[in-house]
């Protein structure tokens, strides 16, 4: 299935070619010679895996999912979405695949003539649930229609997956049409329509409060068989920008890891549309075969337009909008008003060329000689080991002060270095923190680049989700937050921290969660706080796709049948998911649930679930009650009285059959009964002790030779003697 991805042969002729930078892309990569370009080796090491990950900057490789490939031969029964749409697992539609989702044939039971297909999302990639909820069933101008969505258990994966039911474009992909044998003027017309209809679609999407962030040539379709109505493909199966080849991302977002490119805004969509049109408009691409570093370096040093748009255009009429949409300064990039002015034949004010800081003395670092701080910062971010030497030996400060002649920036860097030296003893990560801060100072628009974590501040959530799901480098992301580096980035944005106060509050909250390691906190809590739509990743859910808190307990209720009865229905992911999604503060429960005392921990879990069941008005849950009831042994054993234990053991199955956790909790957490049990136990202990003492006393005093026995027996003899005397005397008196 992987090979079924539509490739842009016209623009990406040789995706497997060795990533040699073309002549126009900048200086030839240098060797490992020189004092500061030792990182050239690093470049090679870094660039190769990145290129492998992101293709050559033009196409997104299908995310590897060997599990899905078996699906083709799996004769599965159709699965039904919301009792309306039938999805056929045995009938894949590779031509409709998305990078993060696989296409299968589907049918609409209500309207069989309605052409639909299904996209089965990777269970491990966070879909844009808010978008799905918002647009499902709506007709969006210029956007593929999402008829419905649901989660089903995908048999071959043995996992629950999000399934999107989408309208089936009857005209196929636009790229297929452009690759066909049609005249160039017809191709130009198609591209013109892509721009026209695309801008209208993006404007409509903006009104709906969404961004597309998945705009690329292979995600354009003809809605109709006549190939007149162009629509954008789906954009909800993966986080924003996740599936985008870096050529279609702004330079700063392209620097981030795929998961960390961020939500962005409509200007990012406009840029992607400009890049898409630029690629479709050319018979050959100037960036074909370039690796990620080369493309981004070129965009920074030469501009995106010059990087993406070459000389072989199908038509020159679209050069002006292309230049406007590919403007690197987001504030000067064309918006919908500018585009409308252009379509009306009005003159669009030219973008003011920003006075780029350039140094007459180029600083050679990595494969390039840098004349501006942004390109140097990007090169440094790829080579942290050699970059820190550049910082430590003063080369950078000198170059900024004397080459760039930006004394203010040089002073900021000097201050950061001095502050870092002061903290060297406090943290082992001082160098990495310093590097991140310096990179942000040199390029405030760039992502937070700390060790292996590269993310935009609005992309932290999806970056964390991606790394967690892929088993990647979560530690670096967590450390970046712990060191407050996102806050540093927000401070350097236009408007400062005040303009991003809500974002900063989120990072401060995440930082607090990271300071705790108990279940319910830590990275897992950050994962669900930063990704409210991410399904819970608890293995206890048996692969079910649960992204709403209302579904957690019912899922556990179902999972009970296959669960290990000795295992608690509670783990770090469940705790974090509940802690971040429940409307009430569960922190008190989360703290107690981590108790080393089994009884306290299990009882707290029962309390928490009972509370959730009551607040969310969930139905009876016999399975979960049975699961929890089976774990109540330690709680029952807290009662000292065997009779009480037997009573409780007899009562638990009765309450389990009812399925109300609150009833079970009432039985297990009866304070009066506990106090009575404790009091009775203390009384019994005293009685036992007294009996012991008495036995000891009796044993000591029952020896015939003991003083007590001797004394008692002699006393008895004396009493008998006196009694006899009394009897005799009385008789004698009476007889006389």
């Amino acid at each position: 299935m992987a090979e079924a991805t539509p490739e842009l042969d016209t623009v990406a002729a040789d995706t497997d070619a060795a990533p040699e930078p073309p002549a126009e892309a900048g200086p030839e990569p240098q060797g490992a010679n020189g004092d500061v370009n030792g990182g050239a080796d690093d470049a090679g090491e870094n660039a190769e895996p990145e290129a492998a990950l992101t293709g050559d900057g033009l196409v997104t490789p299908l995310i590897s999912t060997n599990e899905f490939t078996t699906e083709v031969s799996f004769p599965g029964e159709p699965v039904v979405i919301n009792e309306r749409f039938e999805v056929f697992p045995a009938r894949p539609l590779p031509e409709m695949n998305s990078p993060s989702a696989r296409a299968f044939e589907a049918e609409d039971r209500l309207q069989p003539a309605n052409p639909v297909f299904a996209l089965v999302c990777m269970p491990e990639i966070p879909a844009r649930q808010n978008v799905i909820n918002s647009i499902a069933g709506d007709d969006l101008q210029g956007i593929i229609k999402l008829h419905d969505a649901g989660t089903v258990e995908w048999a071959s994966l043995n996992r629950w997956c999000q399934v999107l039911i989408l309208e089936r474009p009857l005209g196929g992909r636009v790229t297929d049409a452009l690759q066909s044998n049609i005249e160039e003027f017809q191709k130009a017309d198609i591209v013109r329509e892509v721009l026209q209809q695309g801008m209208e679609a993006l404007q409509y999407l903006q009104i709906r409060g969404h961004v597309h962030r998945a705009l690329r040539p292979d995600n354009l379709f003809f809605r109709d068989a006549e190939k007149e109505d162009i629509i954008f493909g789906e954009f909800m199966s993966a986080p924003p920008g996740f599936d985008q080849p870096i050529a279609f991302e702004t330079p700063e977002r392209a620097m981030a890891s795929p998961g960390g490119r961020g939500y962005g805004d409509s200007s990012d969509d406009n840029y992607a549309l400009g890049a898409t049109v630029g690629f479709l408009l050319q018979t050959s691409s100037p960036v074909a075969g370039m690796n990620a570093e080369q493309i981004i370096h070129s965009k920074i040093t030469r501009s995106s337009y010059q990087t993406i748009v070459g000389a072989n255009l199908l038509t020159a009429t679209l050069v002006e909008p292309l230049r406007g949409l590919l403007e690197d300064d987001a504030h000067q990039r064309w918006d919908f008003d500018n585009y409308e002015m252009w379509t009306n034949g009005q003159r669009v004010p030219a973008a003011q060329s920003s006075a780029r800081q350039r140094s007459p003395r180029a600083l050679k670092f990595g494969p390039y000689e840098h004349t501006g701080p942004r390109s140097l910062a990007y090169a440094m971010s790829l080579r942290p080991d050699t970059s820190i030497k550049l910082v430590r030996d003063g080369t950078l400060e000198t170059w900024l002060a004397r080459g760039i002649e930006d004394q203010e920036l040089a002073d900021l860097v000097t201050g950061a270095i001095a502050a870092s030296k002061a903290k060297e003893d406090e943290t082992r990560d001082a160098d990495s923190i310093l590097m991140t801060q310096i990179l942000l100072l040199m390029d405030p628009l760039s992502p937070v680049q700390y060790k292996g974590a590269h993310f935009m501040t609005d992309g932290f959530g999806s970056a964390l989700a991606t790394e967690t799901i892929r088993g990647g480098n979560v530690k670096d992301l967590a450390e970046a937050v712990a060191h407050q580096l996102p806050t540093k980035s927000l401070e350097l944005q236009v408007g400062g921290l005040a303009a991003s106060i809500s974002d900063d509050q989120l990072f401060q909250e995440l930082r607090l969660h990271l300071q705790r390691t108990e279940p319910g906190y830590g990275v897992e809590r950050c994962l669900y706080v930063a990704n409210p739509n991410l399904p819970c990743r608890s293995p206890l859910l048996g692969g079910r796709y649960i992204d709403h808190i209302e579904d957690i307990l019912p899922a556990l209720n179902e999972a009970e049948a296959d669960a290990d009865a000795k295992q608690r229905p509670y783990d770090r992911h469940l705790a974090a998911f509940l802690g971040s999604h429940f409307s009430e503060d569960l922190d008190g429960f989360l703290d107690e649930a981590d108790s080393p005392d089994d009884a306290a921990a299990v009882l707290t879990i029962l309390k928490m679930y009972a509370r959730i069941q009551a607040v969310l008005q969930l139905p009876e849950m016999v399975g979960l009650a049975k699961w929890l009831g089976g774990l109540m042994g330690p709680v029952i054993r807290q009662y000292k009285s065997r009779a009480t234990r037997r009573l409780l053991e007899a009562e638990v199955p009765k309450l389990v059959r009812i399925g109300w956790l609150a009833d079970l909790l009432g039985l297990m957490n009866n304070t009066d009964a506990r106090l009575r049990d404790a009091s009775d136990y203390a009384d019994a202990q005293n009685a036992f002790r007294e009996a012991d003492d008495e036995i000891e006393r009796i044993e000591a005093n029952s020896d015939p030779n003991s003083d007590a026995v001797q004394r008692g027996s002699k006393q008895t003899a004396a009493v008998i003697s006196i009694i006899i005397m009394c009897i005799l005397v009385t008789m004698m008196i009476l007889t006389n």
Partner: protein, 166 residues
Amino acid sequence: MAEEPVAAKKGASFKPILWGFMFTVAMVSFPGLVLLVVVGLVPTFVAFMVDKAPKKYLAFCVAGMNLSGVFPAMIDLWQGANDIKAAVNIITNVFELTVMYAAAAFGWLIYMAIPPVVAALMAVAAQQRIMQLRASQREMINEWGQDIAQGYGGATIETGGKPTDG
């Protein structure tokens, strides 16, 4: 505080005087009866002197039976002349004297025979009580677990503070 020993000393010194006074009064009022009692209760006096135990159980045993032996003679004397001569007649009567001293001997016999029997009975009673207490403790263990037998001896500490299923 300082007055108590003085009072006790006064009481102790006054007691023999009181006894002496009462004996003198009795001797003057009932000389025959006193003579009979003094002679008849000789075994009791002997037992009182021989018995080194603080509670004088031997003396009580002998005294009880001895008094039973003397009492018929006392009745005779009381109902008769009730003088010294009548008393002498009685105490010189071997049969009367034998009854008095045999009764005293029987009292001594009681003192010799009863304690072992009583000790054996007490041992049986003790065992019975121990069995009762043990049964009661077993019931408590059945109800509350083994911890109750160890609880006050530090068992909860030995089990790490957790209740055991005992």
